[in-house]
Amino acid sequence: MNDPVSIPLPRTQIPHTIVPESVESAEVVEQAPTKPSVIRSFLNAKSSGRVGDGAFAGVIVLCALSIFVIVLLIIWVLIANSRLSIHAFGWKFFASQVWDPVSGDFGALPFIWGTLVSSLLAVLMAVPLALCVAIFLLEICPQFLRGPISFLTELLAAIPSVVYGLWGVFVLVPLIRDTVGPVMEKFLGWTGLFVDPNFGVGMFTASVILAIMIFPVISSISRDVMRVVPVSQREAALALGATRWEMIRISILRNARIGIVGSVILGLGRALGETMAVTMVIGNHPDIVKNLFAPAYTLASVIANEFTEATGDLYLSALIEIGLALFLVTIVVNAIARLLVWAVTRGDSARTA
């Protein structure tokens, strides 16, 4: 559509005594047709879908960026609100065992201890069971049982934390206090880990509840990871005369080990941040003791219990700093787990080895 007029004319030296009126008017003419009116260009863009596309893509990108914004906002809010405590205690906050709201002296070590020990114990209990169930459902289970059992185990994940807590308070706590506890004391008492006084509430009970809660996570993700092991690998092992267990060990567990570790870490992340059920059965007492029957306290439960009662800015900011620590730890744990799971499931068709 380019007019020949719109091509810029080569400027020649014109004596400035001559006023090139005709050239000026020609310039005006040459501008007009190259620049369509705003309305025209809008209509053009609209008919080719450019306006809708631009607006839609903008909204969509905003939605995607909102995820970054949420994470940054959480980090900012946590840091801004815990500044008081960070300044007051520095790194000592994570090494001090004192938690004394009255004198305003705060240290998070007992809570870190409680969180780590209860989560690790839960993982220790849940992992063998979860892997066995995953193997059972994938390799051993008859077809007609597979659906119902996997549905049931996933149902475990759908039960809210507070309901586990309720069950824990009224069923598990008496059970451990009156039945399981004495037996364990008799046989494992010599380790010093299971000794009186056993009130039923404590580290061990919390770990059992946590193990039940993180089991579905570990089981379903490790099942997904095992499933992407190529069938040819299984067939190869079987063709060499391996028994079923040898086939599982050689071709499935070996190939899927990175992803399985990822699923375990993911379960660990879930256990670290679990709040309600743990708060209801762990006894809420900030102490570092060897006895697993003794009451303990975790990072998440101290926030849940004391946040609304926190008097004074320093108390509140110490609690928020605990939240910050919890947030950072779970972010790191989850990031590692996701990377490991990705490493396995990502290019599942590309895998040959």
Binding site: G49, A64, I70, I74, L78, L166, I248
Partner: protein, 296 residues
């Protein structure tokens, strides 16, 4: 290279027996652990139904909590409160989540930004819910100087976004490329293709994802502790503290009164029933969906 070790037949037999034994042992262990895992599940559900059903009555749905010492009372305000909080959370969380999912599947696939968003969403998914509660508190409650249903809704909405985004993305990925190309071939703009073709085809799956996210946050207590805060009285004002079913269960479970324990069990049963109903609906939706297979 070296010669193969020569084994006596007895040695062979022992080896075979050992291999067979470990095979059977591990099979038995797997079956046993599946049973062991199903026990707590059945124990939790069975005890819950037994205790809950015996404590449930009509007053539970129609009355508000009564003071200590009086019998009766219910959780009508908490049920309605939960509904309000969840409605706020869904209204905010689901559209943003679907938008982010569309970005991941249709716009950002393969780009660095797309990978980063996906990774952040996965990580955000694992952030403890109590931290969301702190965020809701600091962002809204601390500014407004009072607890509110709105703050609770925001905290839950933040939890819904990554879940909805990831399931939407996975569902959109199951839509065949040919369908999209057909739409482009007809000269339909991309935004229109996304809305009317991709989202439309993947709709059953996306609804599934939204319901799962909904079911997940419906039972959350920790983020509501210091945002919605709970309320013993009837309130539907989203600017005021509001009761929520999980909060009420928590408070009643830790109280020393038998009557309140009874109500806690009834509340737990109602909560589970609400979640189960939505999960079952999800199953029906998913099995009726246009896109079967391809998904796990």
């Amino acid at each position: 290279m070296a010669t193969l070790p020569v084994r006596s037949s007895q040695h062979e037999w022992l080896l075979k027996a050992r291999r067979n034994f470990s095979n059977h042992l591990m099979t038995a262990l797997s079956i046993l652990s599946t049973i062991v895992v199903l026990v707590p599940l059945i124990a939790v559900l069975g005890y819950l139904i037994y205790k809950g059903a015996s404590s449930l009555n009509w007053a539970f749905f129609t009355h508000t909590p009564v003071p200590v010492g009086e019998t009766g009372g219910g959780m009508a305000n908490s049920i309605v409160g939960s509904g309000i909080i969840l409605a706020i959370a869904s209204l905010m969380g689901i559209p943003v989540g679907i938008g982010a999912g569309v970005y991941l599947a249709e716009y950002g696939a393969g780009t660095i930004l797309g990978e980063a968003v996906r990774f952040t969403a996965d990580v955000l998914n694992g952030v403890p819910s109590i931290v969301m509660g702190i965020a809701g508190y600091a962002l809204i409650v601390a500014k407004q100087k009072h607890f509110s249903a709105l703050a609770g809704g925001v905290a839950l909405a933040i939890m819904m976004v990554p879940t909805v985004a990831r399931t939407t993305e996975e569902m959109l990925r199951t839509v065949p490329h040919a369908v999209r190309e057909a739409a482009f071939g007809l000269g339909i703009a991309k935004w229109r293709t996304v809305i009317s073709i991709s989202l439309r085809t993947a709709l059953p799956g996306i609804i599934t994802g939204c319901m799962l996210a909904f079911a997940r946050v419906a039972g959350e207590t920790a983020p509501l502790l210091f945002t919605a805060f709970g309320n013993q009285f009837w309130s539907t004002n989203i600017n005021q503290p509001i009761g929520a079913l999980p909060l009420q269960i928590y408070v009643y479970a830790l109280s020393p009164y038998d009557e309140w324990h009874r109500l806690a069990w009834a509340g737990a049963l109602v909560l589970i029933a609400m979640i189960m109903v939505s999960v079952t609906l999800v199953r029906i939706f998913a099995s009726r969906g246009a896109l079967k297979g391809g998904q796990h």
